[in-house]
Symmetry: C2
Subunit: 378 residues, 2 copies
């Protein structure tokens, strides 16, 4: 009997990770009906991450009422996996861009609900929280979430308030003592695949503000708000983390995760691999199949296939990458441990036509690899 | 040490078989410097076939003066391989379409020179002739070649003449006795990958006449000429072969090969495989790499990869097909013995862009297969 681990990233805009798992499984099953096949849909921290973790590991989906992006009441969810000890939250559940369609304004939106989800998970006994940053409509650097969990932000007049992107500039003082007691004994990991710093040209406001509805003027306003927050925290908490890689993710939520919550920012794929205990699953595995929409080595950070390769190489299990496009200069991918890279492009057509036949092409590509495997192993 | 046989078809319009062999060899050599690699460029019966055989087997290239398409004197060549016993002729050498560029007229052109090449090869001791049909500018059903080797065609008035496409209709009587004595003890194989009958809607004139310069009126004239020839030969030689598969190839040369020369019409790839003694080369081989511009199973006849699969399957050697496009419904290819089919399409672009990067893509595709092989074999 042979053992296969399937752990593909989504092909963005074409197929979800879960869908790819199911197509791969079908093609493998056809060729090796008796195979042990373990499917691990990959969470990227954005929408669908909670479901991916639940699918991969089993667990409970918790729905509670929290504050939405505009402090409105709404239902949001998170997951509890790992026998009740690990809470999985995607911030887009209550601070996601689709929630403010047509009325996006990153000056006014809050991550308050995210803090409520975190608090609920801790109250239910979770001792580790995984928070997916991604797809947010906010620019409050996590101040809303921190407030929900007990941090107190005061303005010049000494009045407490809940800062949003547009009012970060009014913060004069922060008291995090309430927050810290909440977090005692809780490990936090934030999934974050980007490198941007908190502010400046490559910061949260400049790079991601426009897609959240910010005009050039608003971008400047948001950027100085983030700078101001950092100055306050530098002074009050003796922190210097604005340049940390990923601080600028999710409207500065990466920064907030570090500053308020003492979280570790980790690549999504590493979080997934650690959480599903991938190294243990690798024991006795014959093949790992992964993949992504395009493999290249220009941006190694955040790349699913490369993240997996580091582990499979150590465990000496062949890693087969099945991808949409194969970029130039992928020598490094092999060096890092990928055994073979196969494109699903079976005919020479443009992407707009290729995507329509992607499911069938993926199935036939895996089928071909299985047939070939059979012939070679003989 | 591992042994590889490389026997790819050309990727029409992109890379010749010989070029593909050399790229494949480079990629294999990089991964397995010590491998034994045997390259067999595939002759398809058209231009370049003689060189392909000479490259694959070694031999002598003979150049002699013969008649060209318009009975003009010209230099043409053929090859002698197999220790002097096998002559290889491509009819395009003296009856090819490029020779009449700007003055093509299939009513007037002749295969006379082809007969002269055949005669010369026999005179030099060849006991087997391989004649590549393909790329011709003629429509004389091989009557010219037959005349060159001793057949006598007479008109109503009893005068002998050398028929061309436009004068086949004047044939009243044929005497093949001179021809037969020439051919005694000589085996003839014509390479022919198409199925068309001699005349009619799917016949030589209707299907291939236009690309040789025939107007619709001329096509009708040529078609009735072929019909007339067949009526004469039915009566005089008691032959009924106008419907034979391939009779309509090369302006009816397929028919002439059967009728005048008693040749066997054989798929090009089978001719190549037999000639290079492929089954003997397969002994001890670890992998065979083949390929073609597009693999599909709609037209199995003439397909290089499928032709090879029949042999590799019997010998239980894995056959890897590396192709441009992979057609639909290729299940049958696997059933016939192909172990794996890999497209060189590494990014989703149209053919016009894909062809520009075909060489690099082919190299990287073979490189990937070699790396993967290494990982799987471990």
């Amino acid at each position: 009997m042979s053992k296969f681990l399937l752990i593909p990233d989504s092909f963005k805009g074409t197929m979800s990770s879960e869908e790819i798992c199911s197509i791969m499984e079908k093609a493998i099953r056809k060729n090796r009906p008796e195979a042990e096949i373990i499917s691990i849909p990959v969470a990227d921290g954005g929408e669908g991450s909670v479901d991916a973790f639940l699918k991969a590991m089993g667990g409970e989906k918790v729905t509670i009422r929290v504050k939405g992006p505009y402090f409105e009441d709404m239902e949001a969810f998170y997951g509890i996996i790992g026998a009740g000890r690990v809470g999985v939250i995607e911030m887009s559940a209550c601070a996601g861009l689709p929630l403010v369609e047509g009325k996006a304004d990153p000056r006014k939106t809050t991550t308050y609900g995210v803090g409520q989800l975190m608090e609920d998970a801790i109250r239910r006994g979770c001792r580790k929280l995984i928070i997916g940053l991604g797809g947010s409509c906010t620019n409050d650097a996590g101040a809303g979430a921190a407030a929900a969990m007990g941090a107190v932000f005061c303005d010049k007049a000494g009045n407490s308030f809940i800062p949003t992107g547009g009012t970060l500039k009014n913060i004069e003082h922060v008291d995090t003592s309430g927050l810290l007691s909440q977090l005692k004994g809780v490990e936090l990991v934030a999934m974050c695949d980007i490198d941007n710093p908190l502010y400046g040209e490559k910061g949260a406001a400049h790079v991601f503000g426009p897609q959240k509805g910010a005009t050039p003027e608003i971008v400047e306003e948001l950027d100085s708000g983030l700078q101001h927050l950092d100055q306050v925290l530098q002074k009050e908490l003796k922190l210097s983390i604005a340049e940390a890689k990923g601080a600028g993710s999710a409207g500065g939520m990466g920064y907030g995760m570090l500053a308020f919550f003492g979280a570790a920012l980790q690549m999504g794929i590493d979080t997934v691999l650690d959480t599903v205990k991938f190294d243990e699953l690798l024991v006795g595995a014959d093949y790992v199949l992964s993949g992504e929409g395009k493999i290249d080595t220009q941006s190694i950070r955040g790349k699913v296939v490369i993240g997996i390769a580091k582990r499979t190489k150590k465990a000496k299990v062949p890693l087969i990458a099945i991808v949409g496009d194969i970029g130039d200069d992928i020598e490094e991918a092999y060096e890092k441990g990928v055994s073979g890279i196969f494109s699903i492009n079976r005919v020479a057509v443009e992407y707009k036509d290729a995507r329509k036949r992607a499911r069938e092409d993926l199935y036939l590509t895996v089928d071909n690899i299985m047939r070939y495997m059979q012939a070679i192993e003989k």
